[in-house]
């Protein structure tokens, strides 16, 4: 098994822990992951608002490079995952968009074939690697650690390619295989607000508060996320969202929890980059770690 890897701009910045833990987990599972050579920004939602057609062209460059490579392309960031998939759909469904993108690729002498399969790490871990292989790697089980699995919007909407659109369970199953206990989290696909906290702060805060409240109400000890912006929003504004420090949950990437269970040293999985240390919870639940 070999995958091309598209980190996206956030995984180099605020989402560093995601990249670190993701690569560590895949290394432990002996799955080869090769970064896409000279990848460019996908544009995410911001470029799409600025200029849709240019946005498709930007995404198409990455898709073409990846298709050339021959392996499936893993895109861990939800926005990148969506934009790359969306580009493929729109190029196919609107021939005139296809024409513009083809022409753009021609000018930089890249092949027009952009049909690479864009995959999410949840999909790859669950369906390609398989729960059995994951369970076999667990050396430091999570002892019933109560996790609220937060999927966010863009990996299930509008394209639900590997999981149920309204009630996804891929992350649930992966973490349960590591010994975690998944709490009831009915708002698991609600939007975190994306970049609204920066541009429209009080509205953004409202959405973040809602997610933290429901996790807290259901006694989650940790929130597991799949998207760097979701993780950032929940973590960076957890204090602000709390009244008198009621929310103090570590907000982690699901890959970090997997790394923990695989016995990968905390530092290698980016735990030191969290604002709220996970060590107290680990001690309480008597979860061994490296």
């Amino acid at each position: 098994m070999k995958y091309a890897y598209y980190p996206g701009c956030s995984l180099r910045g605020t989402g560093r822990a995601y990249e670190e833990s993701l690569l560590a987990v895949f290394r432990a599972l002996e799955v080869e992951v090769v970064e896409l050579e000279d990848w460019n920004c996908c544009g995410a939602t911001t470029y799409m608002s600025y200029d849709e057609l240019q946005s498709y062209a930007l995404a198409a460059r990455n898709l073409s490079l990846a298709t050339k490579g021959g392996n499936d392309l893993m895109a861990p960031c939800s926005a990148c995952y969506l934009v790359l998939n969306k580009t493929q759909y729109y190029v196919r469904d609107y021939p005139w968009i296809g024409q513009i993108v083809d022409h753009a690729l021609d000018t930089i002498r890249l092949p027009r074939d952009i049909s690479v399969k864009v995959r999410h790490p949840l999909d790859i871990l669950l369906n390609d690697v398989g729960l059995d292989a994951i369970k076999a790697k667990v050396t430091h089980p999570l002892n019933g650690l109560k996790v609220a699995p937060y999927y966010g919007c863009q990996i299930v909407r509008p394209y639900a390619l590997f999981d149920n659109q309204r009630n996804p369970t891929s992350m649930d199953r992966l973490l349960e295989a590591c010994g975690a206990k998944i709490v009831y989290y009915p708002v698991k696909t609600h939007c975190c607000g994306g970049s609204q906290k920066g541009t429209l702060p009080e509205i953004g805060l409202d959405l973040i508060k809602h997610l933290l409240t429901e996790a807290h109400r259901n006694e989650a000890e940790v929130i597991a996320t799949v998207c760097p912006l979701c993780q950032f929003n929940l973590e960076a504004f957890e204090d602000e969202a709390s009244n008198a420090h009621q929310f103090h949950m570590p907000i982690l990437y699901f890959t970090q929890l997997l790394a923990l269970a695989f016995g990968i040293p905390l530092k290698e999985a980016g735990f030191q980059r969290s604002f709220v240390s996970i060590k107290p919870v680990l001690a309480e639940k008597e979860i061994a770690y490296v």
């Binding site: 309204r166 009630n167 009915p186 708002v187 809602h210 429901e214 109400r217």
Partner: protein, 667 residues
């Protein structure tokens, strides 16, 4: 002068060009066309007239046949679908065979689709020329008569099936009513009250059910299904599969002492009639007013079937009646009928498909049908509207359009849900005085007394919120929402989003075709629409007949509808079946195919090709044979036969070639 009545003599053709007012004359130069037709070979006369289908128009033809000895007629006018029978009738009344006619469509095929007069006229001339050449080769044909068996089969014992059966039976004809459930009554038996009059459903239904059960002209087959259908209009042979109740029906008197005596002191299996809201024993009566009033045994639940070691207290208490028979098996019996009425009804939308409403996840989300059972006095809670934990709800939300008007599930409007939602709102207010919220998109109340029913509801203090509900959740945002189910919707009339906390959510589920509609329709050789409803012959003018002669449809199986419309359709279907029976015979169109035995090589290619299964293989002669009564004249076998040994009346090779050559010889 050649003999008009001897078609073997040289053709003397009369051509008649219709103006159809300005419909044709506006785009086609009818005068030029008529003059052109007169120049064609074998044409004895060529006329034009404003409205050929009118009495004077037809008289023109008849007069010419008599006076000029015409023996072939070409009418250039509208589509044959409109007036072929009219002109054939004119020929017949004038004394020549009706099939010596050829119509040319210069309306739908010329004047209605072209704008350039010169070009249209040229096209019309080409078509008339082709018809003139063809009609010379028409042979006289006779319609065939088939006798009609007066017995009628009604499939489905809901209100539509019951009404159809009673109507036919009252006329003296014999009816076989086949119902797959152990009792008749259909969905109507589940309801408490019916809109808009709030009549008690059982009170108006049970007399009809009893009438069916005791009618001398009705043979009631319950817990039975149709296994196969063979034959054709007037002559159907139907095999009915009678599932085993393990009770000898003639001996059971419905006393239910066996149910009382069963070794299971309490019910443990989901009661189907109460939609799983209560439990029943392995031996049970479907519901108190069941017709026939006979119990049945569920072999999956009964100990005797599993271990053969039951005390069989039921048999003991049945005593001298000996009505219980554990050895009973399924039987298949054949009946002969002349016409069939399908009244197989509908099923409700599975609310689990709309995950955002939480049915099956949150316990206090119910479907409307389940609430009907709660409200019904003979239901699982004795008519008490209560939640799963037995308490009465103080706030109830009714969500319209679940599984209707939605491209993600069913596109259609299910027609009855707005009305039954209003009815449930009324009953809930009346019985427990709860706050009721109806979330709707449009309030559809088209029937007689329906809008007035809505008016009545408007006085009752129900909250009407126009907005399709986005989701039903259990996470509270406001303190008043703790412990409740929250309905989130935009109140479109007010212009903002509302969150309404309720104790009970009622989903007004839409109507869908039965799950096996596509298999059933194949058995009866009819069609389904794209959505799965049985297809009527014409949506406006023939809503109860199908494209298969002798098979009629009635009620919700044809499309979602309420009880008055179902009963009306049932009456209509019964009338059509009775008309068929009273006519004693039916005439079949003669443009059927037939096998030329000398040429047939017995390759059997045509057998599987025929969409109407009208071709069979005769073992003795090793030749194919077309059943002229089943044949619909589609021509597929004629085209398929590798040795060209099938011919079709009115579409013989020579007739077709002449028509083609006529078209190709440009004017």
């Amino acid at each position: 002068m050649s003999d008009a009545r001897n078609p073997d003599s040289a053709p003397r053709i009369g051509v008649y060009v219709c103006h159809c007012g300005t419909n044709i004359a506006g785009t086609v130069d009818v005068q030029a066309l008529t003059e052109y037709a007169a120049t064609l070979p074998n044409v004895a006369v060529s006329r034009e007239y404003k409205y050929m289908c009118s009495d004077p128009g037809q008289e023109l033809i008849r007069q010419d046949i008599r006076d000029l000895g015409l023996n072939r007629i070409v009418v250039a006018s509208c589509s044959p679908l409109m007036h072929e029978p009219t002109f054939r009738g004119a020929l017949a009344r004038a004394g020549i065979n009706a099939f010596l006619l050829q119509m040319v469509n210069i309306r739908e095929h010329v004047s209605w689709v072209h704008t350039n007069k010169a070009e249209a006229t040229i096209k019309a001339k080409d078509l008339v020329r082709a018809a003139v050449r063809r009609v010379g080769f028409h042979k006289p044909l006779e319609k065939r008569r088939v006798e009609i068996n007066p017995n009628v089969l009604v499939v489905g014992g809901g209100i539509a099936g019951i009404h159809a059966a009673l109507t036919v039976a009252n006329s003296g004809k014999h009816v076989h009513l086949v119902e797959r459930q152990p009792t008749i009554g259909g969905h109507m038996a589940y309801f408490d009250k019916t809109f808009p009059t709030l009549d008690c459903a059982a009170c108006i239904l049970t007399p009809k059910m009893t009438a069916v059960g005791s009618h001398p002209n009705i043979t009631l087959w319950t817990y039975s299904e149709v296994a196969s259908v063979e034959g054709y209009v007037g002559n159907y042979k139907v095999k009915v599969r009678h599932k085993p109740r393990y009770i000898i029906e003639d001996l059971c008197i419905g006393c239910q002492e066996c149910v009382e005596a069963c070794v299971y002191k309490e019910g443990r299996w989901a009661d189907e009639f109460n939609l799983g809201l209560s439990k029943r024993k392995p031996i049970y009566l479907p519901f108190p007013q069941a017709v026939p009033q006979k119990v049945l045994i569920d072999p999956e639940a009964c100990i005797e079937f599993k271990s053969h070691k039951c005390k069989k207290t039921c048999v003991e208490v049945c005593g001298e009646r000996h009505a219980i028979d554990f050895q009973q098996t399924e039987t298949i019996e054949e009946i002969e009928v002349g016409s069939i009425i399908l009244a197989t009804g509908f099923k409700t939308f599975d609310a689990r498909r709309n995950a955002y409403y939480g049915y099956g996840v949150h316990p206090n989300v119910y479907t409307a049908l389940e609430v009907e059972r709660l409200v019904n006095a003979s239901g699982p809670t004795g008519g008490e509207i209560v939640l799963r934990d037995g308490t009465k709800p103080k706030m109830v939300g009714i969500i319209h359009c679940v599984g209707s008007r939605d491209h993600n599930t069913n596109r259609w409007c299910s027609k009855v849900c707005c009305m039954y939602s209003l009815k449930l709102a009324h009953l809930i207010r009346e019985r427990i005085g709860a706050e009721v919220y109806n979330f709707y998109i449009d309030m559809r109340t088209p029937g007689k007394g329906y809008e007035e029913f809505y008016d009545r509801l408007l006085d009752e203090g129900v909250h009407f919120v126009r907005g399709r509900v986005a989701e039903v959740t259990d996470w509270p945002v406001h303190p008043s929402e703790e412990g409740k189910l929250i309905i989130r919707a935009e109140d479109t009339l007010a212009g903002f989003v509302r969150r309404v906390p309720v104790d009970m959510v009622v989903l007004s589920v839409g109507l869908e075709p039965q799950g096996d509609a596509r298999d059933v329709r194949r058995m009866f050789n009819i069609s389904c629409s794209e959505e799965g409803w049985f297809l009527e012959r014409h949506p406006k003018l023939a809503p109860v007949s199908t494209f298969t002669d002798g098979v009629f449809i009635a009620g919700a199986c044809q499309g979602p509808k309420d009880i008055p419309d179902s009963v009306a359709q049932a009456g209509a279907a019964a009338a059509e079946a009775m008309a068929l029976a009273d006519a004693k015979y039916v005439e079949l169109e003669p443009y059927t195919a037939h096998v030329l035995d000398d040429a047939c090589s017995g390759c059997k290619t045509c057998l599987t090709i025929c969409p109407y299964t009208a071709i069979s293989f005769i073992e003795e002669t090793k030749k194919a044979h077309v059943n002229e009564v089943l044949c619909k004249g589609c021509g597929t076998c004629v085209a398929t036969c590798p040795s060209g040994s099938i011919e079709q009346n009115l579409f013989e090779d020579q007739e077709i070639f002449e028509e083609v050559e006529g078209l190709l010889a440009y004017a």
